[in-house]
Amino acid sequence: MKVDRRSFLGLGLGAAAGVAVSPALVKLTDDSSIWTQNWPWTPVPEDGEITYDKSVCSLCPGCCGISVRKINGRPVKIEGDSDFPVNNGGACLHGIAGLQYLYDPARVKTPMRKKAGKFEAISWDEAIDLAAQKLGDIRQNGAPESLGLVTGTREGSVSKLFNRFMDAFGSPNAYAMPSLEANLALTAQTLHGEGNTIGFDLENSDFVLSFGAGIIEGWGSPVACFKANASRKERHAELYQIDPRLSNTAANADRWIPINPGTEADLALGLCSVLLQKNLFVPGQLTGGLNRFTAVLASEYTPQKVEAITGVKAADIEKLAMAFAKAKMPVAVPGRGRGDQGQSLREFAAVQTLNALAGRLNKEGGAFVMPKADYLTFSEASMDEVAETGAGKEKLANSIDELIEKLSASAKPLVNALLVYNANPCYTLKTPERVKEAFKKVDFVVSFSSFMDETALASDLILPASTFLERLEDVPSGAGLAKQVVGLARTMVAPVFNTKNPGDALILLAQAMGGTIAESFEWETYDEALEAAAEGIWDGLNEEGYAVISQGTPMESPATDFAFMASNPAPIRPGCEGEFILMPIDNMRISGSAVASSPFAVKTVSDKVLSGTDVLVEINPETARAKGLKDGGSAMLKTQVKSVKVKVNYNEGIMPGVIGMVRGLGHAFDNPYVAGKGVNVNDLIGPVIEPGSGLDAAFGIKASISKA
């Protein structure tokens, strides 16, 4: 017997065939695919006990209750809390992605000071000492009023503590960033008296006349608005959207009324004029200057005149006024987009005046004028002599925008130190370059930011804040809701980095400063301060996670003072040169406020808005073709402030002559998932300050566009 080649061949073939028909191959194929899934570097979530803890989201003014799903105490998911009276189980995409902020690459992990233009990590003790010494010097020099403060809002205990610090320090120069809540409070103050605010009962209204309010684009308390809008069909409630652009809200509405941008107030006044002329108004408590106001309306805001300004036909204005007056429970809603930026008091007041004339104040489904939620009581801050003199000085400006103007214009330093909490003015205000320049004139800027954002980068010391998931805080709902609720955000997870609740950081700073400032901050911790200040509602707040301050229709009908409207305040029109109007667009998926969108949210943005790192601007095809611009093609967009390269997105739903650019892109900080994408629309627009109110009412700017 001779073993030859063929025998080996037989052996090989036999072995192969044997293996092939045995189960080994199939099984091994299956197992190897599973084996690859178990490679040790594949991230696998830890297994363990599942729990749910309740808290409140404070990423926007919405005040939604959330339920945080945890495994072995580690938060893994955020859901809406179904027992919470604001959002009833809903949550928006920013809220559900809230966990991403914990591990954000741009987080400030420990206190930092700037030395020779570079940040270096320091300890909390060093940081507090440094701040106390710098601020101490300012007081020593007898100019406490040269300390400035910028906070996101004035509401909530942390903001109140910051303001208290200013009192004890002796500076009147505390400012809040523009917000819908502030605009509503200012409107209420102008028309109905100090200490009030306005809420809109969208849930019960059967006819919502929205002057550009992005009901499903982030206006007010977003989730509450989604819910109110979602139930519209079954309630047979109508929504009319006045908007230069077919926004999502307009597309969802029963009727879209295109209007020349920035003329919403004129239309509201035109409607008021029809109501008065046709005797359709409800003579309630209309005081101060009604006659003068009537005269102004009769001469300046006849339907014909309003047609010329707004582009809405006179006949349509009459019909619209009739429809509003005839509806059972109509309400007019002000505040374009999210209602926080580029807004004028004139517009807010005009829309609210329409509510007043139609008798819709403090009626079910109408506009509620209610006292501001006042659930915190702090004792008076102790003030020494320095504080008394500083506090007696006049405020430098009426608003943050005016302050920046003044800082820019002045040759000598007006503000020597600035505290910034919960705000990103170097990104969100118009022409951020101007803000950064103004910041350079301030000797010592302290940021209490969680992220190394544009403003933190422009500051000298960062006392990093724990995020909303890492700390206790009261979260008042304030954004145009018809009820007032305070939620309690609780510590869902111990701080991931070496950060503190800004309330605690402030207490440490106050104590380090000694004297009456320390006396005014006698608490050991912020938690203790909150419990003491919220004493009246603390038990309920702590137990339920929220406290309802007011709900249901307010009993009393408020008086309306027409003096402001009777003075016929001047409209704000975008200045400068250019054939077109560039208008920022608010998009629910992109945050335009202090906290930037999460990586998750950025991923959901349509490629009609952001394509790669290019921003697309919306242009009516007619306008675009006249300029030789192709859909998807590149273009140069130029305003007086800046010119940028953009891409063109043909949109039939935007009025000819208007260019729309989304707000909230173009961040410039160290987060590869969020920053470096698109353009910050604020870079292109210059502020226009409304006289009197101090609001930056620049809703847009004249622009030109050409092929790139």
């Binding site: 017997m1 030859d4 063929r6 025998s7 061949l9 052996l11 036999g14 080994a24 197992d31």
Partner: protein
């Protein structure tokens, strides 16, 4: 034979070897080839079937023996220990705390296993590191509530008559994947006779197809 003849013969044989398939030498070579083929086939086939599973799976013993029958007789059902929480999530294997609702560090019975449990775990407040026969990969989302409460299924349908067992069988771990042999099934061919024999994706899909007319979408289970 002369050299020439010899050459001729060789030459012709060479030719035959090359050109035809049925020379005498050829027969012999092929026969050997076939034998080799058969032997190799048989060895490989048999080892793939019989030896391979032995190599693929390692055997592990549970920390101590658990008598399901005894416990179900006491409690009356599976749900006392393997319950659904109020929020609908499945508690899975009871943790030490649940066991201690009945057990203390003094054994209640006389079995050796209970003594181990009391001394090694209860007394030391240590969780029992049970090996879970039915553990699925982390990417698989499975809702017990949907199957038990909504579809009214019996535990047995997927887990078999485990409640009647008096002893814990060894846990066979797949050396490659780390999962229990129960997932693929005892039968290395993947053949099943009972609904609880296997717990692979196809088994879920098959039952879904039968019960709901649709085998489901990827994202229903893979999250």
């Amino acid at each position: 034979m002369s050299e020439i003849e010899n050459k001729d013969e060789n030459g012709s044989m060479d030719g035959a070897e090359e050109c035809t398939a049925d020379g005498p030498k050829d027969d012999k070579g092929l026969g050997l080839g076939v034998i080799f083929f058969m032997v190799a086939f048989l060895i490989c086939f048999l080892s793939g079937w019989l030896l391979f599973p032995k190599l693929l799976y390692s055997k592990k013993e549970q920390p101590f023996n658990f008598d399901h029958a005894l416990h179900t007789a006491e409690t009356g059902d599976c749900e006392t220990c393997h319950y659904l929480r109020e929020d609908g999530t499945f508690a899975g294997l009871p943790n030490l705390e649940s066991c201690m609702e009945c057990h203390t560090d003094e054994p209640m019975g006389e079995t050796e296993d209970e003594a181990i449990f009391a001394q090694k775990y209860v007394a030391k407040e240590k969780e029992v590191p049970w090996l879970v026969y039915s553990k699925q990969p982390d990417c698989v989302y499975f809702s017990h509530a949907a199957h038990i409460t909504k579809a009214g299924m019996d535990c047995k349908t997927c887990h078999g008559p485990i409640g009647e067992s008096t002893s814990s069988r060894p846990y066979e771990e797949n050396r490659l994947t780390g999962y229990s042999r129960d997932i693929w099934g005892k039968n290395i061919w993947g053949i099943k006779t009972n609904s609880w024999d296997r717990m692979k994706m196809d088994d879920c899909a098959e039952c879904h197809k039968e019960e709901t007319g649709h085998q489901g979408y990827c994202f229903q289970c893979h999250k």
